[in-house]
Amino acid sequence: MGNCFKSSNNDDISLLRGNDSHDSALEPTPFVEPPPPYRTQPELQNRMPIYHPSPGVSRTATQLTEDEQIKIAQRLGLINHLPTGKYDGTNRKAKECVICMNEFCFGEQLRFLPCLHTYHKECIDDWLMRSFTCPSCMEPVDAALLTTYQTS
């Protein structure tokens, strides 16, 4: 809301200034000028996904070594194997995502881990890229995945 008001205010001011011959000559320059390079770079990096190949290491895709790329591709593949679904209120016990501590809402995307713990898809996917461990029972997810394959 506040933002909407602000932007319309800005427009009004610029229009008013546009009528003024002195200001109109000066005003456009700061907008045309490209932002200094030190600003554009962090913005670019923010838009690129950041990966965490090992504890405490954060890199963009282009900064990863070949081994790290393989590790991350494998991890992404394993995560995609884990079942997902939408919360429909019938979920056995889970009512809350222990990562964000919010209750599940109807229609929210969930991810089900083999240890039967359930989280918001967004919350757990981000976590699993850092550590392939269930935050609730600390069970390594890959080990649990293997046992479910063996039993089914």
Partner: protein, 167 residues
């Protein structure tokens, strides 16, 4: 996005801790406008060398909380094998998540996104009661703890007294 989640989680914890205090510590923000910087006072656990102490520590959360751990640093003088000379707390639950390739620590022993100000403070209280001298952050303290316990006791008693005077 991630930043918002962290603020939301931390403000909720602040509200809950204000509502009902937990035994063994108190916690609040250093500056009311910054949810990412907390000040805690850890009460030395009863029946340990640290009993009676009121140790001030800062908890600094990253924007990626709860996916990454905060850093904890004692402002009060401390003498403990798992607290370095600058006051930084060195316990495995505050280590960056994931499996390190050297296998020193399993992922399950490291940071988990379910940790809160409360669970961290409780872990630190149990660390005070039960030092781990296998991977000491303060080698001198660990050595003294093992080899010259009387001297260790004296050193800790001094910090206990100082912590109360400074509060």
């Amino acid at each position: 996005m991630a930043h918002e989640q962290a603020s939301l989680l931390l403000s909720r914890q602040l509200k809950e801790l204000n509502k009902s205090s937990v035994d063994g510590f108190s916690a609040g923000l250093i500056d009311d406008d910054d949810l990412f910087k907390w000040e805690t006072v850890i009460y030395g656990p009863p029946e340990t060398l640290y009993e009676g102490g009121m140790f001030k520590a800062h908890l600094i959360f990253p924007k990626e909380y709860p996916h990454r751990p905060p850093k904890m640093k004692f402002v009060s003088d401390m003498w403990h094998p798992n607290i370095d000379q600058e006051g930084n707390v060195c316990i495995s639950i505050l280590h960056e998540p994931g499996d390190d390739k050297y296998g020193y620590e399993k992922a399950a022993e490291r940071w988990l996104p379910v940790h809160t100000v409360e669970t961290i403070c409780i872990s630190v209280i149990s660390m005070l009661a039960d030092p781990n001298d296998e991977s000491p952050a303060n080698v001198d303290a660990a050595k003294m703890w093992r080899e010259n316990f009387e001297e260790f006791k004296k050193r800790v008693t001094k910090t206990v007294r100082k912590s109360v005077e400074e509060l």
